[in-house]
Amino acid sequence: MNAFFRTVFKEIAGLFVDDSNLAAFATVLIAVVAGAVKLLNIPPLAGGVALLVGVIAILIESLLRAAGPPRRKR
């Protein structure tokens, strides 16, 4: 039964975390943007735009890392 609950927990965590770096970067990005908006009084819309740009950057970084170095031409 423990193994079953472990599987369930693992599956639920797996909903959000696949590439752990991607999840970590996204969490940090959201925390930084939220901090900037709430503590530094950055306009919320600028925060939203920064979030979109950051999410795209994180996605591209993760894709490039997963893809590895480009194929060499012979």
């Binding site: 599987t7 919320p44 999410v55 194929r71």
Partner: protein, 250 residues
């Protein structure tokens, strides 16, 4: 008044995402039903549905207690994580870095495992458990998706409608053809869903922080268009990088 700019993406995202999950659960239930009989398959699935219903009954009212801004922010954060994960995988699949999801293969693997268990005395129990686990795990994802796309704007009803339509459609087609639904373009679905969930995530998180998006709810479509453009460009560039061979990555 019903705002179509919000209702349509909500129902569509919930429908498509739920469809992917239900197809996966259906494959396992079908394997159990065909190999070990429909009694353990349906008992396991029914038990999982009861647990899911309890989850919804217990967690549903709690959502009403969370202030809307905070709820949008929390749901947005989870949606970004959830959506990015799907989008990343779908892009890597489309670019040929990850093999496509194969329901026939999963069905064959599950059938083999169940045939092996069939020799054991507790075969029915194990078959029922396999069905229970598949429906519960995929069902939890469906519940999360419904809450995530519906709760930010009080559209849980519409999101549930989308999910229910997906369940009915997959069940109807599945039981009619009586085989795994391998013809469904699962990666395309995951690609679209990843894009929609990530867009919802950025939109809700921004709203949760107090952003007044230009064009109000229509900004959701603007975010979606930007992400579609970036993702298609990424697929194209990654294909060029890869060359002709399938390169398997994690």
């Amino acid at each position: 008044m019903i705002d179509l700019a919000t209702v349509v993406p909500t129902v569509t995202a919930s429908f498509l995402a739920s469809m992917v999950e239900v197809v996966e659960a259906f494959t396992i239930v079908l394997a159990v039903g065909i190999t070990q009989g429909w009694r353990p398959a349906l008992t396991g699935a029914a038990a999982a549905l009861v647990v899911l219903a309890l989850l919804v009954v217990v967690l549903g009212p709690l959502l009403g207690l969370v202030p809307i801004g905070l709820l949008q922010f929390i749901v947005g954060v989870f949606l970004i994580l959830f959506g990015l994960r799907w989008l990343r995988k779908a892009i890597l699949r489309a670019a040929g870095y990850i093999a496509l999801h194969d329901e026939e293969k999963i069905f064959a693997k599950e059938t083999d495992t169940l045939k092996h268990h069939a020799r054991q005395q507790r075969a029915n129990y194990l078959a029922g458990l396999a069905s229970f686990k598949a429906v519960l795990l995929e069902g939890v994802e469906v519940v999360f998706i419904v809450i995530a796309v519906g709760a930010g704007r009080g559209m849980l009803g519409y999101a549930s409608l989308g999910a229910a339509a997906a369940v009915l459609l997959v069940m109807a087609i599945g039981f009619a053809v009586h085989r795994p639904l391998s013809q469904i373009p699962e990666n395309l679905l995951k690609f679209v869903v990843g894009l929609m969930l990530t867009s919802f995530g950025v939109f809700w998180t921004g709203e949760g922080l107090g952003a007044d998006w230009p064009g109000a709810d229509l900004a959701l479509l603007g975010i979606l268009v930007v992400l579609v453009a970036v993702s298609l460009l990424a697929v194209q560039q990654l294909k060029l990088r890869r060359g002709p061979q399938l390169r398997v990555v994690k």
